[in-house]
């Protein structure tokens, strides 16, 4: 069974080196992770690190510019969620793998229309565990409410989910066992949690668009 942490930020963005992340990820039950700020896909101690890019642009123009600038060098491109029209546009744009930060947007910004688009285009929606561990009070309640909606829409429309810790340090990571318990809080059962932990594979290995080759 594959288990991938969908976002980690190794040194210099965080305080933990990539090799140390590899040691910790192995002990926590993962076999791969998406790391930001690394040059290319690499492997340490049996842990595969995929190169990830987070696009935090507020407009579609910025997202398109960022994806063009990347020129396919990243294995995983993640776009931070925004309002409803933005999310619908992002989910239909080729080259986007994961929609991040859905817990932070308004309830109607990720609706059934967006969910259907995500399922049709093979785009995954990310569940950020740090929203459940680090936030407190009303903010955490809202985040968990959003994530419960996402899990429900995923069951209904069939789009993939990914699980990320968003860790800048090894202290921010959670084991696959702990992740399963946290995912149970938003309504994902054990098979659903296992599928979400392996969700990055499904978006990375999805078939690409048909290319016309002249000869």
């Amino acid at each position: 069974m594959f288990s991938t942490d969908a976002t980690i930020h190794p040194y210099p963005a965080g305080d933990t080196s990539l090799r140390r992340f590899a040691v910790e990820l192995k002990s926590l039950g993962y076999d791969s992770a998406v790391a930001t700020g690394i040059g290319e896909r690499c492997e340490y101690g049996g842990i595969v690190f995929l190169k990830g890019t987070i696009v935090a642009g507020g407009s579609m123009k910025e997202v398109i510019a960022a994806i063009r600038e990347d020129r396919g060098s990243s294995d995983v491109i993640m776009v931070c969620a925004g309002d409803a029209p933005f999310n619908r546009a992002v989910l239909t744009y080729p080259g986007v793998h994961i929609l991040k930060g859905v817990h932070a947007v308004h309830r109607n910004d990720f609706d059934p229309v967006a969910a259907r688009s995500a399922a049709d285009r093979g785009v995954a929606v990310d569940i950020d565990l740090s929203a459940m561990t680090s936030l407190r009070g009303v903010r955490r309640q809202r985040a968990m409410e959003r994530l419960t909606d996402v899990a429900r829409l995923s069951r209904k429309y069939g789009f993939a989910l990914t699980v990320s810790s968003g860790a800048h340090s090894l202290l921010g990571m959670r084991s696959t066992r702990a992740a399963s318990h946290l995912l149970a809080l938003i309504g994902l059962d054990a098979p659903g949690a296992a599928a979400a932990l392996g969700g990055v594979r499904s978006v990375v290995d999805r078939p690409g668009p048909v290319e016309v080759i002249e000869w």
Binding site: P12, S17, R19, L171, G172, R174, S175, R177, A178, H181
Partner: protein
């Protein structure tokens, strides 16, 4: 009637942190109360049995193990210090739990290393893992690396992208 207890072993990170059982209890209760409320936490009846560097053993009423493990995952600080608690194993007896989850070894040595012109104290070493701390005027800066990273940095005297 006698309560049926379940025991949970959790790895505490960083391994050099010396946890106080009382402070761990307060942190776990705080996280459990945020997640499950007062009623849920009282039904859980959590207690800290043992708190040693690298390992914490907790007790709860049977049937509430998953709820307590979720609460452990939500613990981010103990007494103001950033830590993580990774639940590892659940058992019905302390003996089986201690046999299954040994205390992780940790070498303690007060060595100072130079990295990028700044001196860091080595706070903990365990196998390949090396935990460094730089004491600043305002706050401590931690750096979690491996032995290989240190050797590479020493050999090349690399800059910020060295590890």
């Amino acid at each position: 009637m006698r309560t049926n207890w379940r025991y949970i072993a959790a790895r505490i990170v960083p391994s050099w942190y010396r946890p106080d059982a009382r402070e761990v209890y307060y942190a776990v209760i705080d996280a459990a109360t945020w997640l499950w409320g007062d009623a849920g936490t009282s039904a859980m009846q959590p207690a800290v049995i043992e708190a040693t560097p690298g390992r914490v053993i907790l007790r709860c009423a049977r049937g509430h193990e998953d709820a307590l493990e979720a609460a452990l995952a939500a613990v981010t600080t103990v007494n103001g210090c950033s830590v993580a608690l990774h639940p590892q194993r659940t058992s019905g007896t302390l003996k089986a739990l201690r046999r299954g989850v040994p205390v992780p070894p940790s070498e303690e040595e007060e060595t100072v290393v130079e990295l990028n012109g700044e001196s860091y104290r080595i706070l903990g070493k365990s196998g390949q893992k090396v935990d460094l701390v730089k004491d600043g005027i305002k706050k401590q800066v931690s750096l979690y690396v491996t032995q290989e990273d240190l050797e590479e940095l020493d050999a090349t005297n690399a800059g910020t992208d060295g590890i």
